[in-house]
């Protein structure tokens, strides 16, 4: 009731000082509890996230831990120039984005579809066992998981034989050749994150009012109708938010699995920004170069994020902000 009343209050004329003060002051008065609640959160973020951001200056320095920020030499844009004028910058950026796109197109829907499939299962105990099993790959350490994948992709490996039968590959050590890398990487990612990623969707689905399904049944709706009209709309807010955040990380891809799976012979498709920076860091001190590259990626990511958020708001009315 209070909310409806508030909406009806006419906005004060723009140029009136009294109006302006009234706008903000009234807002603070009315929502002071909200602001107070958030103040606690803000303090945490300021101390542990925004204060350290000052350290981004490292990107413009030749940082040495012992010298700290004040004493390390300033090199301006050198770290950026060095990285981008290198012979591989284009390839690295391309590979990072392409892999992320593949992950977006194939890896993003996978947990959603899996959640939908699980949701349609009626046998509850079986369903919960399946759920538990499905996220086991998430807990196996990356080293072991990549080790298993490598074994199956060897010249006499299971996966290789399977692909060979399907006519998708030769009977060779698949990870040695650049044309297979992206597919294997994405398949592995899906395998690892399918179960764990579906949890959030399943939880959202469990919030859906069962009455809706009941009503749909009475109206004579079939399975797919119900999924389309009830289940998916319920998931839409979560999906959209996840999608926006995913698009907002197009420029970043962790080096972990890549480093464990790639070979020099597959650099053409497998070497990404973070794996290159890792190798560069092994040659000499890492911090400044890593920070510079991260900063560049962040700026692009924020741009993408804002764009995705805007589009989403226009199209679906759901957005981050």
């Amino acid at each position: 009731m209070t909310k409806t009343v508030a909406k009806k209050v006419p906005k004060p004329p723009k140029n009136s000082l009294a109006g302006k003060r009234g706008g903000w002051a009234a807002d603070f008065r009315k929502h002071k509890m909200l602001y107070a609640m958030f103040a606690v959160v803000m303090i945490y973020y300021i101390v542990f996230h925004y204060l350290p951001m000052a350290g981004i200056v490292m990107a413009f320095q030749n940082f040495r831990p012992a010298k700290g920020f004040l004493e390390s030499d300033w090199v301006g844009m050198k770290n950026f120039i060095d990285f981008f004028s290198g012979p591989y910058a284009g390839r690295l950026i391309r590979n990072t984005i392409v892999l992320n796109l593949y992950l977006l197109i194939f890896g993003f829907p996978a947990p959603i579809i899996f959640a939908l499939m699980l949701n349609e299962m009626r046998a509850k105990r079986y369903k919960s066992v399946m759920q538990t099993v499905s996220y086991m790959p998430h807990f196996v350490s990356a080293v072991v998981a990549c080790g298993i994948v490598s074994l199956f992709c060897q010249s006499s490996g299971l996966l290789t034989s399977l692909f060979h039968l399907l006519g998708l590959s030769d009977q060779v050590d698949m990870l040695a050749y650049p044309q297979y890398f992206r597919s294997i990487y994405v398949i592995m990612d899906i395998w690892q994150s399918l179960g764990w990623g579906s949890i959030i969707y399943l939880a959202t689905l469990s919030n859906v009012d069962l009455n809706l399904y009941e009503a749909a049944d009475i109206d004579g709706a079939g399975r797919f109708r119900k999924i389309w009209n009830i289940t998916l709309p319920a998931l839409l807010p979560v999906i959209v938010v996840q999608l926006i955040m995913r698009i907002g990380s197009m420029m970043s891809l962790g080096a972990g699995n890549v480093i464990l799976l790639y070979r020099a012979s597959t650099y053409e498709t497998s070497d990404i920004i973070s794996s290159y920076v890792y190798r560069a860091g092994l040659q000499n001190q890492k911090y400044s170069l890593g920070t510079a590259v991260d900063l560049f990626n962040s700026i692009i990511n924020i741009g993408l994020l804002t764009g995705a958020n805007y589009v989403s708001r226009k199209v679906t009315e759901e957005s981050l902000w």
Binding site: A66, P87, Q154, D173, L260, R263, A264, S265
Partner: protein
């Protein structure tokens, strides 16, 4: 008077060195001339230790001895990575360290980082600004300039002027040969760390073949010597259903490359100049040969994979030859019930000289074990005590304690004075030898280490292992002429590192493309493209930097005025 003193002190030095090393060097006369590095390394390659030769002819002798235990006990803090974390989580529990502290007359407060990410933790330590007295940096910060960069940053103490007085035994150790001195000091002749000093020869990494496969192919008493021999051997193995070997996953096996006369990286060529092995026309010959082997099916197909473990393949009788430290190979064979033979370095043609011996007969800084003293320690007035503690490992008594452990616990001494390790290390149910050697003796440390063939439980524990290790060590055609022992300064390291990231990416990628057949090694245009691209990435610049470092290294000689107060 000065001359007599010089003679006396030089004599002490010789005797001290003999005692510490266990006396495997012949007597040599003093040489008055200050010799250049190149000359002495040529001498050393004959296989005799020349550490007793005094090349300086000057007054660089330590003033004397330190009396242990020290008069006043001091508490020193030491940041030290754990060597056997799953068996001993603190040096406080280590009996050998306790004895060392007791003998020196100090108390040591240990700070141990969590294993696995020591570099990050060390960097955090440097950031935090609250440094302990002594830091065991080992190889953790070599990529960012090591101890000399640390001195420049103001974290570590420049030890040069203090060594003669506070660490005379360390001084003896590093002035025992020109090579040792050149390796133990920075480009501008400073001493910034305590290095473990060790004679690393004889060579541990050898070509190994399986006796049973060799017999099957009719090579019962024959061993491969030249590259063509290897081709013949692989073909025979393939016929019997085995693979010849498994190439290193980057396609470059050092010993095979050495046979062609090129190094696996930077090396010194026949003209005495620095060259980069993968940027030579000879590299093409090497690649051609390996490509032939791969195409013929002699090489295990999964060779680019990290997972296809070579040792496992060899133990499972899938490959007939591999290159592996002889100790480990022998141990694996013993455990799995087959026999191996170690083979001498491969050559291109019979009788070729081999210039790439990586181990030294001189006792030089080895294994990358490095210790520094911090400026915080100096400011607190504990510098002398810290250096005395670190110096202890280079005294006769100290070295024995580090290398052998505690008498009657880790080793026993018989009537003739020869020492044997006890079962505590050799045959311990609870703690494997590879860990026991860090607990019951201190295999790595700031000390004068004894050569493996005398003092390494893994090598001397089994006579056969010792045999394999010593075999071929008297080969007169082998020298270290091509090996670069020099290290780079911080600036050189950074500059070269910047170039090498791209060079190595391209070089590795191209090598594999040639070996996998994606690019044709016989296509001249492809090869020219390879060489030109590396050139455009400034490989010449990297070579020039290395040459500069080498020249500085060779120009070093033990200073005549490094005397003391």
């Amino acid at each position: 008077m000065k001359k007599i003193l010089a003679l006396l002190l030089a004599l002490t030095l010789i005797i001290g060195v003999f005692a510490a090393c266990g006396g495997d060097n012949s007597s040599s006369s003093q040489q008055e001339s200050s010799s250049k590095q190149e000359e002495s390394s040529k001498e050393e390659t004959s296989g005799e230790s020349s550490e007793a030769s005094e090349d300086n002819g000057g007054e660089t002798e330590p003033t004397g001895e330190i009396t242990y235990p020290l008069a006043e006990s001091v508490n020193l803090t030491w940041w030290h990575p754990l060597r056997a974390p799953s068996y001993q989580s603190s040096h406080d529990d280590n009996s050998v360290w306790k004895k060392i502290a007791e003998n020196v007359g100090v108390t040591i407060e240990w700070i141990h980082p969590a294993s696995g990410t020591e570099t990050e933790q060390l960097n955090m330590l440097l950031v935090s600004g609250n440094l302990p007295d002594i830091i065991q940096i080992d190889g953790l910060i070599q990529n960012s300039g090591g101890s000399s960069a640390g001195v420049d940053d103001g974290s570590f103490v420049d030890l040069t002027d203090y060594i003669p007085e506070y660490a005379p035994d360390y001084m003896r150790a590093i002035t025992a040969s020109d090579l040792a001195y050149a390796m133990a000091t920075t480009a501008d002749g400073r001493v910034t760390e305590f290095d473990q000093i060790k004679q690393t020869a004889p060579q541990y990494s050898r070509v190994n073949v399986r006796n049973d496969i060799m017999e099957e192919i009719g090579w019962k008493d024959r061993l491969p010597e030249t590259i063509d021999d290897y081709t013949e051997m692989y073909a025979a193995m393939k016929e019997k259903g085995y693979y010849g070997y498994r190439t290193d996953r980057n396609g470059r096996d050092s010993q095979l490359m050495y046979a062609y006369g090129i190094g696996n990286g930077f090396y010194i060529n026949e003209d005495g100049k620095v060259a980069y092995g993968m940027w030579t026309d000879t590299y093409r010959d090497y690649l051609r040969q390996v490509r032939e082997w791969i195409a013929a099916g002699y090489v295990h197909p999964d060779w680019t994979s990290k997972e296809a473990d070579t040792s496992a393949l060899f133990a499972q009788k899938e490959i007939g030859m591999y290159i592996m430290p002889s100790d480990i190979s022998y141990g694996l064979a013993k455990l799995n019930g087959y026999e191996i033979t170690c083979v001498n370095y491969p050559r291109l043609k019979s009788g070729d000289k081999f210039r790439f011996e990586t181990t030294t007969w001189d006792a030089v800084p080895a294994d990358g074990i490095r210790t520094v003293v911090t400026t915080d320690c100096e400011k607190a007035g504990r510098l002398e005590a810290a250096m005395a503690l670190l110096n202890y490992g280079y005294t006769e008594e100290g070295a024995e304690l580090y290398n052998w452990g505690i008498e009657d616990e880790a080793y026993t001494r018989d009537s003739s004075g020869s020492k044997t390790f006890t079962d505590l290390i050799l045959n311990n149910d609870k703690i494997p030898m590879s860990d026991g050697q860090y607990i019951y003796k201190l295999h790595f440390g700031p000390k004068l280490a004894e050569p493996d063939v005398q003092c390494n439980p893994g090598t001397i524990g089994d006579p056969k292992a010792l045999y394999w290790r010593e075999l071929y060590s008297d080969d007169a055609t082998v020298s270290s002429d091509a090996i670069i022992f020099a290290s780079l300064t911080v600036d050189q390291s950074v500059a070269r590192g910047d170039i090498m990231t791209n060079v190595e990416t391209y070089m590795n990628e191209s090598t594999l493309h040639f070996l996998l057949g994606e690019k044709d090694i016989n296509d001249d245009a492809a090869w020219t493209e390879y060489m030109d691209t590396l050139s455009s990435m400034d490989i010449e610049g990297a070579i020039a930097i290395t040459q500069e470092a080498l020249d500085d290294f060779n120009a070093k000689s033990i200073p005549t005025d490094w005397a003391f107060h």
